[in-house]
C-alpha cells in the first residue's frame, strides 16, 4: 500500500496524466460529473456522480460502422480507432460492481468488441465512500462500500489518500506513481474502513434484503398484483435507466451524414413505449409491462442468467432522480414484503 497527502493530490493526478488520460468526479451545476483532469481540476467530495461511470465503457452514443453508397453498390467501412489508455479515478464501490454486471453482458459470447476495446484500456481507481448517503443500499447486494473492488483501491482520510493495487493493471499504474507517493503499512487505512463500516450500519436502508428475489422467481413475481399500483404513476420516461449504472439496453440507428450513412448505437430504455414495438404488434402494451420488465430484469432475469447475481448495485441514483419518486427499493419492499428496516 502507498499513500499521498490529500493536499498533494494534484501531483498524483499530474503523475497519472503523464501516461494516461485521467477522469475524475468534479462538482458542477446540479451535481458531480466525471471530467478529464487538467491542472486545477478539483476532485468532488460528493458521494456519487449524477451519471454513472458506465459511460466510459458503454457511452450514450457510439459509432458502429459507416456505409458509403453509390447507385446499387455499397461499402462497409469500419471507422473504429484504437482507444487510448485511461484512468477513472474515484469510482465508488457500487459503480465498480456495475462494471462486473456490464462485463457479463457485453463480454459474454459473442463478445461486444466495442465495449471490450474500451474496457481493456480503462484502469479503475476506486474510492471508498466516506459518507454514504441515505439513498445508498449497496449492502443489499453484498457490496462493501468500505472496501470496493477495482484495479487500485483508495481510502481517503481527512489528510491522506491511501492507494492499494489489487490487480496487475493497478500495480503497473501504481509503480508509475512511486515518485509522488510513499509506502505505508497495509493496515494504514483500517481505521478509515472501520469508520465507514460503522456509518454503513446506520444507513436507513441497511436492512433491505433481496433474498426474496432470484433467477428462479419468475413465476412468483411476474403476475404479482402489486405491479399495477407500483407502475400506475410511471411517466414512462427514461431517467431511471439512463442514470442507472447497470442498465445496458441500446438501440441501433442510422444517420444520413454528408457523405454516407453512419450506424450508431445509443442508450435505449425499456420504459419507452416504442422499445418493443414491431410492425406486427407490441408485446408490452402498457406501462405496467414495461415497468415490470425493468425490475424483473434486475431482480429475476439477470440473476437467472448470471449465477444469481442481481442486476442492481444499490447506488441510489434512481431514488434520487425519478420524477415521481418510484424506485427499486419501493418495488422490492412491496413485492417481497420483506426487507424491513429493523431486521
Amino acid at each position: 500500500m502507498r499513500k499521498i497527502a490529500k493536499s498533494a493530490l494534484d501531483s498524483l493526478f499530474a503523475a497519472m496524466s503523464e501516461s494516461k488520460k485521467v477522469y475524475l468526479p468534479v462538482d458542477g451545476e446540479g451535481g458531480a460529473r466525471y471530467q478529464l483532469w487538467t491542472e486545477g481540476t478539483v476532485l468532488s467530495e460528493a458521494v456519487n456522480t449524477v451519471r454513472s461511470a458506465k459511460d466510459f465503457f458503454f457511452p450514450q452514443t457510439e459509432n458502429l460502422v459507416e456505409f458509403k453508397m453509390e447507385g446499387k453498390k455499397l461499402d462497409v467501412i469500419d471507422v473504429r480507432r484504437e482507444t487510448e489508455d485511461f484512468v477513472i479515478f474515484g469510482v465508488r464501490a457500487c459503480d465498480v460492481r456495475s462494471f462486473d454486471i456490464l462485463d457479463r453482458v457485453f463480454l459474454g459470447a459473442p463478445v461486444d468488441t466495442y465495449y471490450k476495446n474500451r474496457r481493456e484500456h480503462g484502469v479503475i481507481v476506486s474510492l471508498a465512500c466516506n459518507k454514504p448517503a441515505e439513498t445508498c443500499f449497496c449492502q443489499t447486494f453484498g457490496i462493501d462500500a468500505s472496501a470496493p473492488a477495482g484495479d487500485i483501491v483508495c481510502h481517503m482520510t481527512d489528510d491522506t489518500l491511501f492507494l492499494d493495487a489489487k490487480t496487475e493493471k493497478g500495480e503497473k499504474l501504481l509503480a508509475t506513481l512511486e515518485g509522488v507517493t510513499e509506502p505505508c503499512a497495509d493496515s494504514a487505512a483500517d481505521e478509515q474502513k472501520a469508520l465507514i463500516r460503522s456509518r454503513l450500519d446506520k444507513l436507513p436502508l441497511k436492512g433491505l434484503t433481496a433474498d426474496k428475489f432470484g433467477g428462479d422467481k419468475t413465476k412468483e413475481f411476474f403476475n404479482d398484483p402489486a405491479w399495477a399500483s407500483l407502475s400506475e404513476s410511471c411517466l414512462g420516461c427514461g431517467t431511471c435507466t439512463f442514470v442507472c449504472p447497470t442498465c445496458q439496453c441500446y438501440d441501433i440507428k442510422d444517420f444520413k451524414t454528408a457523405d454516407g450513412v453512419r450506424r450508431f448505437r445509443c442508450w435505449d430504455s425499456c420504459m419507452y413505449s416504442e422499445f418493443t414495438k414491431m410492425s406486427a404488434g407490441q408485446p408490452r402494451l402498457t406501462q405496467k409491462e414495461r415497468f415490470r420488465q425493468r425490475f424483473m430484469h434486475k431482480l429475476v432475469y439477470y440473476p437467472a442468467n448470471n449465477e444469481g447475481i442481481f442486476g442492481c448495485v444499490g447506488c441510489g441514483r434512481c431514488l434520487a432522480k425519478c420524477p415521481i419518486q418510484m424506485n427499486i427499493v419501493k418495488v422490492m419492499k412491496k413485492l417481497g414484503e420483506g426487507g424491513d428496516k429493523n431486521d
Binding site: 458521494v47 452514443t61 441515505e134 411517466l235 420516461c237 439512463f242 442514470v243 440507428k253 432522480k321
Partner: protein, 326 residues
C-alpha cells in the same frame, strides 16, 4: 409550511367517496424518506390510509387526468394547487381531459419543496420538518440544519405566479390572488448578456441533457399521442443525442410546441435529472408573447386562444422582434 393538512384532505376524500361524488382519488403516497412521495391513485376509503400530504407534494397531477379521465367509471377527485388549476384549464381547452369526469378541489399552497432542490443544498437527508417558514433538515453527518424555506424552494415557487385557483369544484381555505412575481427576471438577465455569453450559457446547460424525456413526459402540455421525436417518419426522431445539435433541436422544438399552451408550472425543471433550467426556455416564449401580443396566461380561462394560433394585422415583424435587445 402547508396550511392545509393531510387529515383535512383525507376527510374530504372520504366524504366524496362515501356520497358517491367520486369513485377514485389522485393523491400522494408516502415514500422511504421525507421527500420521496409518489403520486398515486386511491380507490377506496381503506386505501386512503396510505394517503399523505405535505411540503413535498409538488407533482402536478393534471397530466395523469389525461389518461385517467378517459377510463370508465365515475369522477376522479384531485387536489389542485393554484398552479395546477391552470394546467387543468389548459387541458380542458385542448379537449385532452374530460372535465366532467374530474372533481377538482382547490387547495392553498405555500410553495412546495422538491427532493432535488433540497439535495442541492444538503447531503444525506434523514428527515425534514417545517415550522412556518423555517425548514429543519436532519442529516446523517452534519446534524440538524435550519434554512428559511425560500432558500430551498425551487424557482417556480420562489417566483410563484398565482395563488388564485382558476378552476375548481370546491375550494378548501381562502382563494388567493394572481401575484406580481419576478418570474421573468432570469430571462431578462439572459437577454442582457451578449449572444456569445448566452450561447455559452445554453451550450453548457443543454449539453448535460441525457434525453431521458422526463421533461416531455411530465409536461401537462405535452400530450401528443406520438411525439415527433419518437416518430421515425417525422424526420426528427432521435433518442440519445448523437450530436450537440440534437439537444438544441429537441429543446427548441419542444418549447415552441408548448408555447402559448405552457402554463409555466415548472414541472420540466423539477424533474430534470441534470438540473437544466428548462423553464427559462418556456418563460422566454411567454415573456415574448406578452410583449409582442399583449398579456396572456395559458390556462387562465377555458377556451382562450393562444397567441401562436392567433394574429392581428398590426403584429410586430420578426426583424423588429429580434432587434429589441439591441
Amino acid at each position: 409550511m402547508q396550511k392545509v393538512t393531510r387529515d383535512i384532505l383525507v376527510n374530504k376524500a372520504k366524504e366524496l367517496l362515501a356520497n358517491g361524488t367520486v369513485d377514485r382519488v389522485y393523491g400522494w403516497k408516502k415514500g422511504e424518506f421525507a421527500y420521496d412521495v409518489t403520486p398515486a391513485l386511491f380507490k377506496s376509503e381503506k386505501e386512503l390510509d396510505e394517503f399523505v400530504f405535505g411540503d413535498f407534494c409538488g407533482a402536478n397531477v393534471s397530466k395523469y387526468l389525461v389518461a385517467e379521465s378517459k377510463k370508465a367509471g365515475g369522477k376522479i377527485l384531485v387536489f389542485l394547487k393554484p398552479c395546477d388549476t391552470y394546467s387543468l384549464n389548459q387541458l380542458t381547452t385542448e379537449h385532452r381531459v374530460d372535465r366532467e369526469k374530474i372533481y377538482a378541489v382547490g387547495i392553498p399552497c405555500e410553495g412546495m419543496l422538491t427532493g432535488s432542490a433540497l439535495k442541492d443544498k444538503v447531503d444525506s437527508v434523514l428527515s425534514v420538518e417545517t415550522e412556518g417558514d423555517t425548514v429543519k433538515v436532519e442529516t446523517l453527518y452534519d446534524g440538524v440544519k435550519t434554512f428559511p424555506a425560500s432558500d430551498l424552494l425551487p424557482d417556480r415557487c420562489r417566483n410563484c405566479k398565482s395563488k388564485k385557483h382558476v378552476t375548481y369544484d370546491e375550494l378548501i381555505g381562502e382563494d388567493g390572488e394572481v401575484l406580481d412575481s419576478g418570474r421573468f427576471d432570469e430571462v431578462e438577465k439572459l437577454e442582457k448578456m451578449t449572444p456569445d455569453e448566452r450561447f455559452a450559457f445554453w451550450q453548457g446547460e443543454l449539453s448535460r441533457c441525457i434525453r431521458c424525456n422526463a421533461c416531455r413526459d411530465v409536461c401537462p402540455a405535452c400530450t401528443c399521442e406520438k411525439c415527433v421525436f419518437d416518430n421515425p417518419k417525422s424526420g426528427l426522431e432521435n433518442k440519445a443525442a448523437a450530436d450537440s445539435f440534437e439537444e438544441k433541436m429537441f429543446h427548441i422544438i419542444r418549447a415552441f410546441h408548448v408555447a402559448g399552451r405552457c402554463t409555466d408550472c415548472g414541472e420540466c425543471s423539477r424533474v430534470c435529472p441534470q438540473h437544466i433550467p428548462l423553464h427559462l426556455l418556456n418563460r422566454k416564449f411567454i415573456k415574448d408573447m406578452n410583449t409582442f401580443y399583449g398579456e396572456y396566461q395559458a390556462g387562465e380561462v377555458v377556451g382562450n386562444r393562444p397567441p401562436v394560433v392567433n394574429y392581428t394585422k398590426e403584429d410586430i415583424e420578426p426583424s423588429e422582434a429580434v432587434k429589441r435587445g439591441e
